[in-house]
């Protein structure tokens, strides 16, 4: 996968690829929660969007260099994740989804009102700055390499988390929580940590996206964005490692071609949702894994 991504800018428009990478990371973060812990969060846009606001604000108003801007965005997302997680973790299933949705909407309205987000206008003209004071990110290639490195780094981290003892406990909790509890694991704690991790990675994705597009807007915190990441993960394959990446690329490509046909985008997204839920529950990678009998 890494080699494919390194060669990609020769064939495709770099900004499009960077967008796909940011969303791929977002989807991976989301997948951590739903695929491996079994919690469907309907408010993940909250972390993605607020991290992008904080990072945009940091880069533009506080004048921080890009690496610090991204870190501050991620930190904000982690903080929000801790708060939301603490409130939501106690519930399961539908209730968890509804609470995350409610909290996300609350923060959305806060974003509409808060002066620093500039409401409808969003934070615009975010400077990309110089990475580590040396590499000028205004150059597309430099930016692309940076985004790629961030993506691969986080992806590897997620991989390590999933395949660690911690990850095994998470999977155990997903399979049968009472049994995990009876074995002595404090499931609440594990779930909270997983939630915060998922929020942080979503934050990294959002913060990076703000620098790539030099814009942080309300679309990123609104609930359709939460819906999109669910779509990406679902299409790619819940609980698979490469699923979210494939799903993100698929959806971003689709959207790119569909801007030509305006509002049909929503219809197509809806159709994909329906088809996936009914027939295609394993997603692209899931089906592929089934066919090849490999664990992906």
């Amino acid at each position: 996968m890494a080699s494919l991504l390194v060669l990609a800018p020769m064939f495709a428009y770099p900004v499009f690829l960077m967008k796909a990478l940011c969303f791929a990371l977002f989807a991976c973060a989301f997948n951590l929660l739903i695929g491996y812990v079994g919690l469907l969060s309907f408010g993940h846009a909250l972390f993605f969007g607020w991290a992008s606001y904080i990072s945009a604000h940091a880069a533009k108003v506080w004048g921080l260099p890009p690496e610090l801007a991204i870190l501050s965005g991620a930190a904000a997302a982690a903080g929000l994740g801790a708060i939301v997680g603490a409130l939501a973790i106690r519930r399961q299933g539908i209730y968890f989804a509804m609470i995350t949705l409610a909290l996300a909407q609350m923060m959305y309205f806060f974003a509409v009102q808060a002066p620093f987000t500039h409401g409808e206008d969003g934070i615009q003209a975010v400077p990309r700055g110089k990475l580590f004071g040396l590499i000028d990110l205004a150059d597309q290639t430099n930016m692309y390499v940076t985004v790629l490195v961030i993506f691969l780094g986080c992806f590897l981290l997620i991989y390590r988390i999933i395949n660690s003892p911690f990850g095994e406990v998470l999977k155990a909790i997903r399979e049968n929580e009472p049994r995990a509890i009876s074995l002595g694991y404090r499931s609440e704690r594990y779930k909270l940590v997983a939630f915060v991790l998922s929020a942080t990675f979503a934050g990294v994705a959002g913060a990076t996206k703000a620098l790539v597009f030099q814009l942080a807007s309300l679309t990123d915190v609104d609930w359709p964005m939460s819906g999109e990441v669910i779509l990406m993960t679902l299409v790619g394959g819940l609980g698979t490692l490469f699923g979210p990446v494939a799903g993100a690329f698929f959806v971003v490509t689709l959207e790119n071609y569909l801007t030509t046909i305006g509002q049909w985008v929503f219809v197509v997204q809806g159709v994909i949702f329906v088809v996936c839920v009914l027939l295609f529950r394993r997603g692209i990678i899931g089906e592929l894994a089934q066919v090849l009998r490999v664990k992906l």
């Binding site: 009102q113 500039h118 206008d121 807007s217 509002q263």
Partner: protein, 403 residues
Amino acid sequence: MKRLFTLTAVAVVFGCGYAQAQYTDGTIKIGVMNDMSGTYSDLSGQGSVIAARMAVEDFGAAAKGMKVEIVGADHQNKPDVGSNVVRTWIDVDKVDVIVDVPTSSVALAVNEIVRDKNKVFLVSGAAASDLTGPKCTPNTIHWTYDTWALANGTGKAIVKTGGDTWFFLTADYAFGHALERDTAAVVEKNGGKVVGRVRHPFPGTDFSSFLLQAQASKAKIIGLANAGSDTINSIKQASEFGITQSGQNLAALLAFITDVHALGLQTAQGLIMTEAWYWDLNDANREFTKKFAPQFKGVHPTMVHAGVYSAVTHYLKAVEALKSDADGKAVVAKMKEMPTDDKLFGKGEVRADGRKIHPMYLFEVKKPAESKAPWDYYKLRATIPADEAFRPLADGGCPLVKS
């Protein structure tokens, strides 16, 4: 089935003389971006593409040997979608000029990108007066109208005709606040009084409680500092609550003829608004409308469409004079240097801060009995001369203006 929007290339004849002019990759590509399917699709939408095409035809680009292509796209009123489209257009599709772009948040984002890439941006749809103020750039011209002109036109004219107590119903976001602020300032400067204000969530659906407050305030004028469906809904519900019947008047601070059409004269009668152009003002406008309307499902052109036509015409003149479209700054400088003259707006000029100057008009919506045909909606209440219609050059705060 709706037509596919982007890359509906309208290649207008390649002439033999094109080697004489150095256009980037031999073509002048015009990108018309606006809301093609949402709230603003009737006042801009596909109609703006049609207006641009008509401008190119009337200019006679073909005969002059200029190859002009027009592409259209939908920004869905979202800054990130809009900036994505513009970036791709400029980087990949070699578009030279971006036209229209309603929705101020998108326009502001595009403003920055076009400056960075040194292309041209001709704003017709958006309202933000900041585009010729602190955010002005040497690559942008703000064509048709802006919040200052609307506030000045509607606010001042209404106060002078007796509407001296105001209550504002404002959409609770940046644009609504700006519109309220500008209008309140004008009202107070002209001797009126603002007796109250209330903010409604954006977008809103139910305005009953706010309208109740407006009614209780007994202000003579209820100023609607909102746009699109919010304006339409507030007017509809105001009529439901009998507000106009009981003697208060509604002032729509940003409204288009398409909004009046959506409301119907029964509900919209008596509404006062400011516009830059109306299809029934003179013969030239009427002739344009006769050609335009059948192409746009009978919808009559709004000031936004007229602005697109005028802007594209002037752009083509400048590019022809320079024999090049490569340097955005140079083209815009040329457009500011040349006085404007087109059949829709007549003679005018583009100022140093990028503001296009022309007269504005104060209209009142006719009663149903007074209207003789569909789209015959306005009666002219006042003409605001060009030199008074827009914010004075020195007041804007535009860095391009040497003080």
